[in-house]
């Protein structure tokens, strides 16, 4: 709980850098494409549902128009024996083109579900396929027969001695009579259907039926008979029969869908009236396929979809594909096999046959295509019985394409906007960070070590909050500058103020000595001497306090000229040998003249301070080493002395004003100005001052780098 409150106070991304925060913030625009997807999905759902609803409405309308129209559906008032199906029923498939009657099975789909298979003697068998197109019924008899026997003669069609293999076609006609037709030939080729008619005197003759076309051809394992019959001839029942003979004139072995005894057709022909198509054509819409099926699911007719107007091909390319993948997920079925699709259509028909209009989606023939289908029951005239089902199927390409286009545009746009927003945020964050960093760096360095203040900060002109910050920093620094300025001049001012009373004391003492010494006792003289000593010390203190100011002024008035640093250090070292006889001095200076551009008086002063310092921190008899090294652009001057280590924290502070690390009390006044003066002089010469311990910790070394 506390952690949550903490998080609430600081924000969940408080731990990150500003740049990262703004970037994360910009990333939230990624919600735009997501929202776009959601919108597109909604839109798609609405589109799909409205599509399904309108398709369902159309379907219901068509179903209504077919209500009770048995003669259209079944070419009769009713389909006899509708309840239950007979294995000898023939349900022709609806063809979209005219088949060629050539006695070859290659046009026929031998795995079609309406195949009727009848076993004959031995390994013989009959496979019967049926189809309709327009006003014709087409039949194919695929017979496995180890030996195909032809009739001996064209003429003696009824002479049992001459008979070979025969095929029978029987159906009831519109008037209720039975038509029995046979096919017999003396060889492969076109064959006429003939009917046995009883002429006068009881003579039977074979009469050709010219309306029926047929061709009889040999196949790999038997023969094929293709027959075309005008649907107008055929009534409700139809069947075929094969008379198989092992040799010409032998006893026949009959098998097929006819009653063998009287050649009566018992299997029904479940085919719609040719007028049904005309009726349906008025409902035809681009891209919509109409299918009428019986209540058992047998397809009566199918009206193919006229071509879709316009370009509804789906968009290609990487991005649309990605979008689809992202969007569709598993909601819409992908492409499925033919069998699956048919099964889905049948299921839909079956559901509609139970009495209620239904709608469904299933995968199309091609990749990513979707089919939307609706089915509605067709009722009998009294509205009590379902006599058939009408199903409308439409590829969903149209709305999917519409959706894809809208979506692709939307997503492209939002992607672009997002990229732009992220880029802009990144740029902004970078700039802001840079500005803040610059301001931070400037404010860090604004206050120099020795208290000098630079008031000029970046961003001071900016009109925004950073500008305000910079300006308030500036005014803060200004006040600080005034304060440090006051502090810096305090010592000088104090020295000046104290000097006047000191002068009064001194001159008074001197007057006292001059005028009253004769009458003074010994004690009084001692006191006067002490007072003088005290005032001398006070004077020394004042001088030390003003030293830094004087050096700063001296630096300001210094003039540079070229001189030999080596000679200067050598001469100075000689002087130090005289001044500090208790120390040894070692000089390491290059032989050749070392010309540098600078103020020699200041360098001597700097060297004085360094040597003073080295002498103070070393013991009698120690050796102080002064080294001069020359580089390309710089010279290095170092003074090393044995003695105590430098305290670690002082390495950088050593050269600051008023800092000192002397611990033991000293008679001379120290204000920590010596090394500060060293630094001022080094900086005047374009260099720097550093202090370090000797590598073996035996003492300290002060190194000055100066420009040549």
């Amino acid at each position: 709980m506390n952690r949550f409150l903490e998080l609430l106070k600081t924000g969940p991304i408080s731990g990150f850098r500003l740049r990262t925060k703004l970037l994360l913030l910009a990333m939230t625009t990624l919600a735009l494409p997501w929202a776009g997807c959601q919108y597109a999905r909604e839109m798609e759902t609405v589109l799909r549902e409205s599509e399904q609803q309108s398709l369902l409405a159309v379907t219901t309308t068509i179903a209504g128009s077919l209500k009770g129209r048995n003669e259209l559906l079944f070419r009769a008032d009713s389909l006899p024996g509708t309840e239950g199906s007979n294995p000898r029923d023939i349900t022709p498939v609806v063809l979209s083109g005219v088949p060629l009657i050539d006695g070859r099975a290659d046009e026929w789909d031998t795995s079609a579900r309406n195949l009727v298979r009848v076993a004959g003697p031995g390994s013989d068998s009959l496979r019967l396929l049926a189809a309709t197109h327009e006003r014709w019924l087409y039949l194919a008899l695929l017979v496995r027969d180890d030996r195909w026997i032809f009739d001996a003669s064209e003429l003696a069609a009824l002479n049992p001695e001459t008979l070979g293999d025969r095929a029978w076609l029987a159906f009831d006609d519109k008037r209720g009579g039975q038509q029995r037709l046979f096919f017999g030939n003396i060889g492969p080729g076109p064959v006429h259907a003939r009917r046995i008619e009883t002429l006068e005197y009881g003579r039977e003759a074979a009469v050709e039926e010219p309306r029926i076309q047929a061709e009889w051809q040999r196949a790999r394992d038997g023969w094929v008979l293709e027959i075309g019959v005008p649907l107008s001839m055929v009534g409700q029942h139809l069947g075929v029969l094969v008379d198989d003979r092992d040799r010409r004139g032998a006893a026949r072995a009959s098998y097929g869908t006819l009653e063998i005894s009287d050649l009566r057709a018992v299997g029904r022909l479940i085919a719609a009236s040719p007028d049904l198509n005309d009726h349906l054509r008025q409902f035809a819409q681009p891209g919509v396929e109409l299918t009428v099926a019986s209540s058992t699911g047998a397809v009566l007719t199918r009206l193919d979809a006229p071509a879709l107007p316009g370009d509804y091909t789906r968009m290609r390319g990487f991005l649309p594909r990605m979008y689809r993948l992202f969007l569709d997920g598993g909601a819409i079925p992908r492409s499925v096999s033919q069998a699956e699709r048919e099964h889905a259509a049948e299921t839909l028909t079956g559901r509609a046959a139970r009495g209620a209009p239904v709608t469904a989606l299933f995968g199309g023939r091609y990749e990513n295509s979707v089919i939307v289908a609706a089915a509605a029951p067709i009722y009998s005239a009294d509205g009590k019985r379902v006599i058939g089902v009408i199903q409308l199927a439409q590829t969903a390409d149209r709305w999917l394409t519409l959706r894809d286009r809208a979506l692709t545009r939307l997503l492209n746009l939002t992607l672009f906007v997002t990229l732009f927003a992220v880029g802009a945020a990144f740029w902004f964050a970078g700039r802001m960070t840079l500005r803040i960093t610059r301001l931070g760096a400037a404010s860090e360095t604004a206050l120099g070590r020795e208290g000098s203040v630079s008031r000029v900060l970046p961003e001071a002109d900016a009109p925004d909050e950073l500008g305000d910050l910079s300006r308030s920093f500036s005014s803060l620094l200004g006040r600080l500058d005034e304060y440090t300025g006051y502090l810096r001049t305090l010592a000088g001012k104090l020295a000046h103020e104290i000097r006047t009373p000191l002068t009064i004391i001194r001159s008074s003492l001197e007057n006292l000595e001059s005028e009253a010494s004769a009458g003074m006792g010994e004690n009084a003289k001692v006191y006067i001497a002490r007072a003088r000593e005290g005032s001398e010390r006070l004077g020394a203190i004042l001088t030390a306090m003003g030293a830094a100011t004087r050096v700063e002024e001296a630096i300001a008035h210094s003039e540079r000229h070229r001189f030999d640093l080596g000679a200067l250090v050598r001469a100075s070292t000689d002087a130090y040998r005289g001044a500090f006889p208790s120390r040894r001095f070692v000089c390491e200076i290059p032989e050749e003249p070392l010309q540098i551009n600078g103020a020699p008086e200041l360098i001597v002063q700097m060297l004085d301070k360094l040597v003073d310092n080295a002498v103070d921190f070393s013991a009698d008899g120690n050796t102080i080493t002064i080294v001069v090294r020359s580089g390309d652009t710089h010279v290095e001057l170092s003074v090393a002395n044995p003695g105590p280590r430098l305290p670690p924290e002082t390495a950088t502070r050593l050269f600051e004003s008023l800092w000192q690390s002397r611990s033991e009390p000293d008679k001379r006044p120290h204000f920590g100005l010596g090394l500060y003066i060293v630094r001022l002089i080094a900086e005047f010469h374009g260099g720097s001052a550093q202090a370090a311990n000797l590598p073996d910790d035996s003492g300290a070394v002060f190194t000055i780098r100066m420009l040549r």
């Binding site: 002068t503 007057n511 005028e515 001469a571 000689d574 002063q605």
Partner: protein, 229 residues
């Protein structure tokens, strides 16, 4: 007749102390606390020597102004600046105004009196004809120790008393190095190293006014200075 010394100093105790010291030496002393009173008195009667504090009551640089006005009244009158301020700028301005010397108040009374005596001696010497035996000749340089005046190539170089004493110390044993302490002793001043350095600098500059190629004062680093002919 007693010589008159005017002390213009706003700090009464200092003024009185100095007055006491000068009186002891036999001078007549008159003290003034500010520029206005001093000028009124000077207009009536000039002193023989003036010791002036730079900062006077409400005028931080009133001494300079007074010096200028006093020089307007008399070109020869010796003027000594005395101040608690020891910065360079004060010194430079004071001398440019024609002061004969510039001293800080740390100077002991004895030193101050020596200086005053020297200045009076110079005034006296200037009134007498020059005597050659007092004059040191060092090449282009002639140095009259009595009149405390210096010429270079026959042209007068205007040095303050302190500067004269430094040059005198350097030239007395030309070629010998004089360290800072020796120069300070010679000049009767207690100054820090920087002040000696700036005195030397100013001496060079003053000689360079009359001769641009002047290069007789050499720095011996770490030791001091030397006069080279």
């Amino acid at each position: 007749m007693k010589k008159t010394i005017a002390i213009v100093e706003d700090e009464r105790a200092i003024r009185d102390n100095y007055a006491a010291a000068f009186s002891r030496e036999g001078y007549a002393v008159r003290g003034y606390p500010n520029r206005r009173e001093a000028m009124t008195a000077f207009a009536a009667r000039l002193p023989d020597l003036a010791v002036i504090d730079i900062s006077l009551e409400d005028e931080p640089e009133g001494g300079f102004e007074l010096c200028r006005e006093l020089r307007g009244l008399s070109a020869e009158l010796p003027i000594i600046f005395l101040t608690a301020r020891d910065s360079e700028l004060d010194a430079v301005s004071g001398l440019r105004l024609g002061a004969d010397d510039f001293l800080t108040k740390d100077l002991s009374l004895a030193h101050l009196i020596a200086r005053v005596n020297a200045l009076f001696r110079r005034v006296d010497a200037l009134r007498r004809p020059a005597e050659d035996k007092q004059v040191i000749h060092r090449g282009a340089l002639s140095l009259d120790s009595e009149r405390m005046s210096v010429t270079w190539n026959g042209q007068v170089v205007l040095l303050s008393l302190t500067e004269f004493w430094i040059v005198y110390a350097l030239t007395k044993h030309a070629g010998h190095v004089k360290n800072r302490q020796q120069l300070m002793d010679a000049a009767n001043v207690v100054l820090d190293d920087n002040t000696i350095t700036s005195h030397i600098k100013r001496i060079r500059r003053k000689f360079q006014v009359v001769d641009e190629s002047f290069d007789a004062v050499h720095t011996v680093y770490g030791m001091g200075y030397r006069w080279v002919e």
